[in-house]
């Protein structure tokens, strides 16, 4: 981490350079080979399209981000809650883990017809889907973090007269924090993906819905504009949690 902090400008420079090269190749290929828009529109066309439809896209992005963030928050709470329950009552592990694994061994999207049926095509079905996807990742990373605790540190806490809860609060939770936050960081991108994919299967708004409508209208510039916005939103969310991670884990 300190290495990254020591030379942020270099990392940023490389990132920008890579992006510029990619865009240049893309633009060159699309224009030079006269690719039709449904195969690959030029970046400049996409940016123009993005600007002209900015009101729609911002609305859609807000809609999708709301679903992703609420679902993400719920998913984190559920994942952390289940992991803590398992830590306090170890017998729960064999009850919760197989069930959670069974549910998640099917791609989350597989459940979408059912979830849409149960929760309607509004925001709540998307939130449920995101929460399902996020909670599993968070549960597993939190459990791994809680299990990483040093036996002798637990003994020490016990000798100070700490209860099971005291050990959890003062020792196991902080020990689990690095892995929990890593899981939460990975889940950010997943939450946006799941929200968009579910929107494509039935929604009243959002980036996924915009993409779906644009495909029907054979407007591929619009498809790409929505993808650009989605990817920017994902990156921002990822960056925010990554920033929180570095702030919170000052000791690692």
């Amino acid at each position: 981490m300190s290495r990254a902090l020591a030379s942020p400008s270099l990392a940023v420079q490389r990132g920008i350079l890579g992006a510029v090269l990619l865009i240049a190749c893309w633009e060159g290929a699309a224009r030079g080979l006269h690719l039709p828009a449904y195969v690959l529109p030029a970046v400049s066309d996409i940016l123009v399209g993005l600007w002209s439809k900015r009101a729609t896209l911002i609305d859609a992005a807000g809609y999708t981000l709301l679903e992703a963030l609420v679902g993400y928050g719920l998913g984190c709470l559920i994942g952390i809650g289940l992991a803590v329950a398992i830590a306090l009552v170890p017998a729960l592990r064999s009850a919760i883990l197989p069930l959670a694994t069974a549910i998640n061994s099917v791609p989350v999207v597989g459940y979408s017809p059912l979830i849409l049926l149960w929760f309607g095509i509004g925001v709540s079905s998307k939130i449920v889907m995101v929460a399902m996807a996020v909670s599993f990742t968070v549960l597993l990373s939190m459990l791994a973090g809680l299990d990483r605790v040093d036996r002798r540190a637990v003994d020490l806490m016990k000798s100070f007269g700490a209860s099971r809860f005291g050990v959890l609060w003062r020792l196991r939770l902080p020990t689990a924090l690095p892995l929990l936050l890593a899981g939460m960081r990975v889940s950010t991108v997943r939450s946006v993906i799941v929200a968009i994919v579910t929107e494509m299967l039935g929604a009243q708004g959002g980036l996924g819905w915009v993409i779906y409508q644009a495909v029907l209208q054979i407007d591929f510039v619009q498809v790409w504009s929505a993808i650009f916005v989605a990817s920017a939103a994902s990156l921002a969310f990822f960056g925010l949690i990554g920033f929180l991670e570095r702030k919170l884990l000052f000791w690692t």
């Binding site: 040093d150 002798r152 540190a153 003994d155 020490l156 806490m157 016990k158 000798s159 100070f160 007269g161 700490a162 005291g166 003062r170 020792l171 902080p174 924090l177 000052f250 000791w251 690692t252």
Partner: protein, 287 residues
């Protein structure tokens, strides 16, 4: 075994002259501990008087850490042994929270700064943080940590980390302190400094200390009494009173009296080391 001079309860046999106290704080009688087919301790007898500094040495694998775990309340001895604390017979589990211990590794929490690590036990006991911190801040200079209260463990040297861990142990004010090779990981110079410093602190606070080590010099330099353990299964082979005057100066380690004690202890330990060494060779041959 005849060499062992085990004190029996009662006025007939005196506790060490330095602080004669009739009632031992901790008493272990006929303590056995087996793990499956391995006997870690067998017929261990020991007692510690209030205010006494007792050190325990022995060959590696002699059951020192089993003894530590029993006295710390983390492990029960086998049935039949007698464990007495403050004159009352009890289970090892009853010692949890009544004995304060410090394991070999400092086990500081990396997310807590020096002061907050030191007050961990006080916090667990329910003392408000501000009050606990104020108490710890007053003790910092004595532990050579003044000005370091806001530092985190990864910013400290090994010796300082060990002092923070000791401070945490001291702040959990219990009559018996159990230290398991607390200076084992330090370099020789830092270790010598820490030993002298520990004696100063001990003399001021007069806690009872049971100190486990594999270093004979350390055992003599610190202790009122040294217990030498036998090879596994561990018991007390020799109990040696250390009559060196206190406060002890660093140069005492070259005094004839010190060297004489060291010779006696080393002989006892070597005999036991040979036993465990030879038994391991016999085991290898039969395999």
């Amino acid at each position: 075994m005849q060499a062992a001079r085990l004190p029996h309860p009662g006025p007939a046999i005196e506790a060490p002259q330095a602080h004669p106290k009739p009632e031992p704080l901790l008493e272990l009688r006929a303590i056995n501990k087996t793990f499956g087919s391995v006997a870690a301790l067998s017929g261990l007898e020991a007692s510690v008087a209030p205010g006494e500094f007792v050190t325990v040495v022995g060959p590696s694998g002699c059951g020192k850490s089993t003894l530590f775990n029993i006295v710390a309340g983390l492990e029960e001895p086998d049935a039949g042994g007698i464990l007495r604390f403050e004159g009352k017979s009890c289970h090892a589990a009853d010692l949890l929270g009544r004995v304060t211990f410090m394991p070999q590794r400092d086990l500081l929490f990396p997310w807590r700064n020096v002061v907050d690590n030191a007050i961990l036990a006080l916090e667990v006991e329910g003392m408000p943080r501000d009050q606990a911190r104020a108490k710890a801040l007053k003790m910092l200079p004595e532990f050579g940590l003044a000005g370091f209260e806001k530092q985190y463990p990864n910013q400290l040297s090994g010796g300082m980390r060990q002092r923070v861990a000791l401070m945490r142990t001291f702040l959990f004010e219990r009559d018996l302190m159990l230290l398991d090779e607390p200076f084992g990981a330090l370099d020789a110079l830092t270790r010598a400094m820490m030993q002298r410093w520990l004696l100063d602190v001990w003399q001021k606070y007069r806690r009872t200390i049971l100190f486990i080590t594999h270093d004979v010099d350390e055992a003599i330099f610190l202790g009122d009494r040294v217990l030498v353990m036998t090879a596994r299964p561990g018991s007390v082979k020799l109990e040696q009173t250390v009559d060196l005057p206190r406060p002890r100066r660093p140069e005492i380690v070259t005094s004839p009296e010190f060297v004489r004690l060291k010779r006696t202890l080393l002989d006892a330990i070597e005999e036991e080391s040979m036993k465990s060494f030879q038994s391991s060779i016999v085991q290898e041959k039969t395999q």
